[in-house]
Subunit: 200 residues, 2 copies
């Protein structure tokens, strides 16, 4: 998605330690008008697939997921996996583990068994894909529920971190709207071939 | 908002310990089509006020905030306060404290100084208002930034917990789309007079 690549170049900031800061439009401040363009693109890519539910993970996946859901007609329900077991959720849970490289810790994610079911055709949405730990947990939650993962929609994939390759090897269809081939503070960002970006 | 009160009655569950579980449509699974009706109502209530930004708090405020933002034309940017200082955010922060009664702990919330400014006319959005601790932190972040809080939009207010009264005493305009006067497992939910619910 060319407009997204341009936005990352013009508004994103690269820091040492492989940090791409896009919190001006994606994961702290959210440019909702632009997010709607992202939602339209996910709808275009996945609308023929009979999806009935979007699954994401708190917190920064929720905005993308909700705006994408609104682009379907009727709007799809969104379920967001929670990062720890809060007392409001109840014991009736699927659970999986995520290793966060950003925060240097491991945490549990949970989804209520009421909201992920055997017949669900799920589109998983998240803002970032790097090593893929969060996405592996989300696909694992779907596996536990016997739900079908129709596809994965990612805003920004750091392809060089390998998570995307691993998940594609497992047979998942991943559509990353911006796919970064390499990135550093000297050379900036190099995106993968756009023809590859939206391939099935 | 009558449709919301009906949805709380038909889909919500009350548990001992003053827990109203609405995670089937609001804060775990999200009924995005219904959320859009909520967003339309916040737009109707606040659209004449020249709002340029929506402020919320992760995680369950983000969906309501984004869908509300999309009902404005052009869509408003959303800023969500983060619950702890992640290394991606940077040191350039406003910070305040929230006491969580649900989780029995106190935590910091932060907003980057880049995304909350002196001239901002802010609509604060959240899913729940009980004792008001999260909202007091959000209004405090606005005060630090010298931004103007035009109003607060809440999906469900537990009026008997007093947070709303406290914030209204401080001069904030709060619009709660469902305002619960009392609630228990025996008598169920009693809503406040609808004429009061949307008063200024």
């Amino acid at each position: 998605m060319k407009a997204l690549e341009q936005k990352i170049i013009s508004e994103g900031k690269i820091f040492e330690g492989d940090v791409l800061k896009v919190d001006c439009f994606l994961n702290h401040q959210i440019d909702v008008a632009f997010l709607n363009e992202i939602g339209k693109e996910f709808f275009r890519l996945y609308q023929p697939e009979g999806i009935n539910k979007i699954l994401t993970i708190e917190a920064s996946g929720i905005g993308v997921a909700c705006v994408t859901a609104l682009n379907f007609d009727p709007a799809l329900p969104v379920v967001f996996a929670k990062k720890s077991s809060a007392k409001n959720v109840g014991a009736n849970l699927y659970q999986s583990k995520v290793e966060s490289y950003t925060h240097g810790r491991t945490y549990d994610v949970v989804v209520s068994k009421d909201y992920l079911k055997e017949n669900d055709r799920v589109l998983i949405i998240d803002d970032f894909l790097a090593k893929g730990s969060a996405l592996m947990a989300l696909t694992d939650l779907c596996r536990q529920a016997k739900a079908t993962v129709i596809g994965i929609g990612i805003v920004i994939e750091k392809a060089y971190q390998g998570g995307g390759a691993l998940l594609r090897q497992q047979g998942f269809r991943i559509e990353s709207l911006a796919k970064i081939e390499s990135m550093n503070t000297v050379d900036g960002i190099i995106f993968a071939n756009p023809n590859e970006t939206n391939s099935k």
